[in-house]
């Protein structure tokens, strides 16, 4: 099979091809390494690990020859550079970790590699996963492969979304079959939506957080990004599961997500949250949302309007809770045990100089907001109030799920915007996550499925949100949307190659 064709396969198709011997894991890895090299103008990878990929692929072929093929054996994937990878530099997109080489493997990457997945490299991201556009990485912004114009000489450079922007970009560019992401307020779903791929944020506690560089620990959750719903299900099976090293990891069996995927939504009650119809929502986003409702209804689902009254307070609550937790988590970067050190006169000055030089503007802003809202005299007014509002938001979802089985909403309020368009206005940037943050605050599973191309030729995603640990329903409804949407577009620059 010719190399370009191998990069067009889904994970499910590639597993079949590997099983029948149509191609080897080494051939599959080489095709993707070549695609990854060709995709370098996207700046989607912080570290490419070609030698590791070749060695892992050869080991995969050997396992398969010995009759010991695993779940994802030979599938080349990118790892968001927030997951610690043993012996492979892990930067979190930050100057402060620019040279950090973890002596251990995160649980999620260990599980993926045990399942036979092949690591192509470490994907770019917003610094410490703080951002919605992948513009805050210390290695510079990632370009969305859907940007108009010739590849590498784009007429407008668009953002891929964030924070898992590098992951989304390489999967959309057919340079990786899948990627890991993490989602704190939308960081898997929003870039998946903006890049025309599928991204799943599992229920909080479903995937272990151990070995993932922490941002906001009560919200952070790892999840898969791939080009089909089935592929994300296949990846999630390998990523999920109990881990005693994460105190909030939940001890319950991992379903066979892919095997359970029927796409049958007959009788499924689909809630349409009326508060998500926000002021100034572009007509075409409202239109694709309505089309999504019709698609599910046509397949036998029963749409109904539901209310999530505190939706508008989700973003402000998030922008207290997440920075508060970040200010605490990022206290560990002190220039003493690992990471950057900037020497100064005495230990206090060393801390301040190191952190002043090591953190970028958005991370600094969030640490300072978090420090302020947790400081003496303000804790009750800001942090405690935000955690109470968060409870109300969680209750809203509980009430809605008494009437419906899954919720359908847009993923993001716009298509991809240009690099630089919103980087001077933090609040405008935060509004990108208006539809994804509420489910994050409540810890619920959510998926973004590519639904259509907008008038500007860019992808639009639809989001499904489910009950805790009801990933099977979320995936199933996602598969129904995917079937109806028939979304088969690739970024224009790739379509001609």
């Amino acid at each position: 099979m010719a190399a370009p064709a191998l990069t067009r396969l889904t994970i499910a198709e590639a597993l079949d091809g590997l099983a029948t011997g149509a191609f080897s894991a080494v051939e599959l890895a080489e095709a993707h390494l070549a695609a990854l090299a060709a995709a370098r103008p996207l700046n989607a990878m912080i570290t490419e690990t070609a030698d590791t990929a070749r060695a892992m692929a050869a080991a995969s072929d050997a396992r398969r020859a010995a009759g010991d093929a695993r779940r994802l054996d030979g599938i080349p994937i990118a790892i968001k550079d927030l997951f610690c990878t043993e012996g492979v530099r892990t930067t979190a997109g930050s100057q402060i970790l620019a040279d950090y080489v973890p002596p251990y493997q995160s649980t999620v990457t260990a599980k993926l590699f045990d399942a036979g997945a092949v690591m192509l490299g470490k994907a770019n991201l917003d610094e410490f996963a703080m951002g919605s556009s992948n513009e805050t990485s210390f290695t510079g912004p990632v370009v969305n492969p859907w940007s108009p114009g010739p590849f590498g000489a784009w007429t407008r450079r668009l953002v891929p979304g964030g924070s898992s922007g590098g992951s989304a970009a390489v999967v959309a560019a057919r340079a990786a079959m899948g990627a890991t992401g993490t989602d704190t307020g939308g960081s898997i779903r929003q870039p998946a939506g903006l890049c025309g791929i599928v991204g799943l944020k599992p229920t909080y506690g479903r995937c272990s957080r151990w070995g993932i560089v922490a941002f906001a620990s009560s919200l952070d959750q790892a999840g898969p990004m791939a080009r089909t719903v089935r592929d994300t299900a296949l990846m999630l099976e390998a990523m999920a599961g109990f881990d005693p090293k994460d105190s909030t990891s939940v001890d319950r069996p991992v379903p066979e997500y892919a095997a359970g995927l029927t796409g049958d939504v007959r009788g499924l009650r689909v809630g349409i949250p009326k508060e998500y119809r926000v002021d100034g929502m572009p007509a075409e986003i409202e239109a694709v949302w309505a089309r999504g409702v019709a698609w599910l209804r046509d397949q036998g689902a029963e749409p109904l309007e539901v209310s999530l009254p505190h939706t508008r307070y989700a973003l402000p609550a998030y922008y207290i809770v997440a920075p508060a937790e970040a200010s605490s988590n990022l206290a560990r970067y002190d220039g003493v045990r690992f990471g950057l050190r900037v020497a100064d006169d005495g230990l206090q000055a060393l801390y301040e100089a190191t952190r002043g030089a090591g953190f970028g503007a958005e991370v600094r802003r969030r640490i300072m907001i978090g420090t302020y809202v947790l400081s003496a005299g303000y804790y009750d007014a800001y942090y405690l109030q935000a955690q109470k509002v968060r409870k109300r938001i969680a209750w809203d979802f509980e009430a809605a799920f008494e009437r419906c089985d899954v919720l359908l909403a847009p993923t993001a309020p716009s298509t991809a915007f240009a690099i630089g368009d919103k980087s001077d206005d933090p609040i405008a940037m935060y509004l990108n996550d208006v539809f994804t943050v509420p489910a994050s605050l409540a810890g619920l599973p959510g998926i973004s499925v590519p639904a259509a191309l907008a008038e500007d030729g860019l992808p639009l995603g639809l989001q499904l949100i489910g009950r805790p640990f009801d990933e099977p329903t979320v995936l199933n409804a996602g598969a129904a949307l995917e079937t109806a949407a028939e979304f088969s577009w690739a970024p224009p620059a790739l379509a001609v190659s």
Binding site: L219, P316, V336, G339, A386, P468
Partner: protein
């Protein structure tokens, strides 16, 4: 502090003195020349989050657990360790099997 006092405090925007104090608490060196711009940015964010005061939370407990679960316990015993090379491998300054820091006691 009571909510009435808190409400008053929330209405304030940050001045450069407060920004300097927060930077100090956060142990981040921020050049004086950036204090004014940061004060404006942080004030904007605080204004944005102030709308949370509209929500009646009188009888609402703060969320303390993202999914309903009881934290597990385990036996208080050593399960890992004894590998100074791994621990110190990324140390910016190492003295024998210790992290090196500037002198803190005169």
């Amino acid at each position: 502090m009571g909510t009435a006092v808190a409400g008053d405090a929330l209405a304030m925007s940050l001045d450069t003195t407060t920004v300097a104090r927060i930077a100090r608490l956060a142990r981040i060196k921020v050049p004086d020349s950036e204090h004014e711009a940061l004060a404006a940015e942080l004030s904007n964010i605080l204004t944005f989050v102030e709308q949370l005061n509209e929500v009646d939370t009188a009888d609402v407990p703060p969320m303390t657990s993202t999914v309903a679960m009881t934290l597990r316990r385990r036996a208080d015993e050593v399960t890992d360790g004894g590998d100074p090379e791994a621990i110190l491998g990324n140390a910016p300054d190492r003295v024998d099997d210790y992290f090196g820091v500037p002198k803190v006691v005169e």
